[in-house]
Symmetry: C2
Subunit: 307 residues, 2 copies
């Protein structure tokens, strides 16, 4: 067994319009890098964080908390040092905390000889995620660990379904530089929703799963609707309606809020359309004078990678 | 083109636990027979109804209303006579009105040389269904016309998805002889539901669609949960909890209310299990002194059949 591992832990898009709290997909060329080393000293030490200012104390860092959850089960008579090269901005809405939480447990599991399966790693990573979002969610963790499109059937017990990924599907992401706290984005949601809109939502979730299985881009497009959450959360994202309208007009399959925002995602058939969508998104925020970052990515079918 | 046709119009199970208002499946050996003949006289006449006492006036009969909706579009310079040999008891919760509404438009479309596709036939049949339930629903019509498992993505515009049917899947139905009006069963439902339970429901709908695509009976079983509607409607069905508990205990994949009840359905892997489930159901209602009818059926993959 090796004593050191370097991994790429990808950004992810949760919710995916109709699938609030259950659906997610994994990005391919946006993500953190992490180096994890075995140490004779027990426990977890985070020795380096580059990119963003995050706590080195493992109890205050999602990568540390999830790693400690794993060590509490595994009880090895050695420990681990973690270096994090953070490229996903915390709070951007594309699974920054989940990348850290998933990456550390994935890497440690490799260094231990893979005693845990991906469902078990999800459970450890959720402990870390809870530090960031205030609740144990798996909708960003599942796509990071499983890759592709995922459906969190249940968190208790943990049951994750890996869905098929149509080959020509590309994501475009725009991250406007405004801050939305996950806790706040949750607090503005209603406790109760109309049964009628709930029915529309579960018809769309079922249709989206069917569309992924049948490579039906047109059906995928018509299923990428969010009648429950988006009406509330879009108010937190400047120019959301314009971005959605313009990207759909030029041919995006769907456009919605990534996780709890502020990032906005679109899905397109083919790289060229995804790049056209990127241009449209950039123009809108450029004209509005809002600083932003964009990404165009294939759907990552496998999740975290060993480098 | 022929001048007369005889068809078998099957019973159907709507909702299928998690899929209130959207999911349904088609039964194989329970259904009405209908004979439809071209006549020189324009319009629709229902000349015979055997089995149950239903109105012969086409404006008061679901088969007549749906047929008239089709004729209004097609405008043929002749008409049709309908004979209905009703075997599905009205109000039993296994799509009695949908079988009549779907059967008449299916048969007339055949006699006209198939000018309409199945989506268009769904629209005509929904006009008939509205007479029975007070609202235009397609969750029983879709499985009757398309066969197998169906998902009503949307009623306006009409979009029906035909889902795959695992080969070893069998349904058991028990119809206790009590009356539940669809309108009443709708009226006891809440207008608003907790977001949390809605999320569980759409996770289950997505999981059920994935299970059908992957022939995963275990996943199908765990997705066959209804946390939204069943808690309300089960109060209308005597001994529902006992039937559910006992059928699941012996190995049914799932058990729930068929449509708006009072029929209860169970799904099983294999005919033998479906028959064991039937025995358990019968014993419970027999001991309770409630008159009942039971059916065991393969899932009908094609829907209405020409005899």
């Amino acid at each position: 067994m090796r004593n050191e591992i370097k991994i790429f832990s990808p950004a992810t898009v949760a919710n995916v319009s109709c699938g609030f709290d259950v659906l997610g997909f994994c990005l391919d060329n946006i993500g953190d890098e992490m180096i994890i080393k075995k140490t004779p000293q027990k426990g977890i030490r985070i020795t380096k964080i580059e990119g963003y200012d995050l706590p080195l104390n493992p109890l205050e860092n999602v990568a540390g908390v999830s790693a400690l959850a794993l060590l509490e089960e595994a009880k090895p008579n050695f420990g681990f040092e973690i270096e994090i090269y953070k490229k996903i901005k915390p709070g951007s809405g594309i699974g920054s905390s989940s990348a850290s939480a998933s990456g550390s447990v994935f890497a440690i599991n490799e260094l231990l000889g893979k005693p845990y399966n991906t469902h078990q790693l999800t459970a450890f990573a959720m402990k870390g995620e809870a530090l960031a979002s205030g609740a144990e969610h798996a909708d960003n963790i599942a796509p990071a660990l499983f890759g592709g499109f995922t459906l969190v059937k249940s968190c208790n017990p943990i049951s994750i379904l890996k869905l098929p990924t149509p080959a020509a599907l590309y994501a475009t992401i725009i991250h406007p530089e405004i801050e939305i706290k996950t806790r706040h984005a949750r607090s503005i949601l209603p406790d109760q929703i109309p049964l009628k809109t709930a029915i529309t939502q579960w018809a769309n979730v079922g249709s989206l799963v069917h569309a992924l299985h049948t490579n039906n881009y047109q059906l995928l497009s018509s299923a990428l609707q969010d009648v429950v959450i988006e009406p509330y959360r879009k108010t937190l994202i400047p120019h959301f309606d314009t971005v959605k309208k313009q990207t759909l007009r030029i041919g995006a399959l769907g456009c919605g809020i990534s996780g709890s925002g502020p990032s906005v995602f679109a899905l397109s058939e083919g790289l060229e359309m995804a790049k056209n969508v990127e241009k449209v998104m950039r123009d809108i925020y450029f004209r509005a004078g809002i600083t932003f970052t964009t990404y165009v990515s294939k759907i990552n079918p496998t999740g975290i990678k060993i480098l």
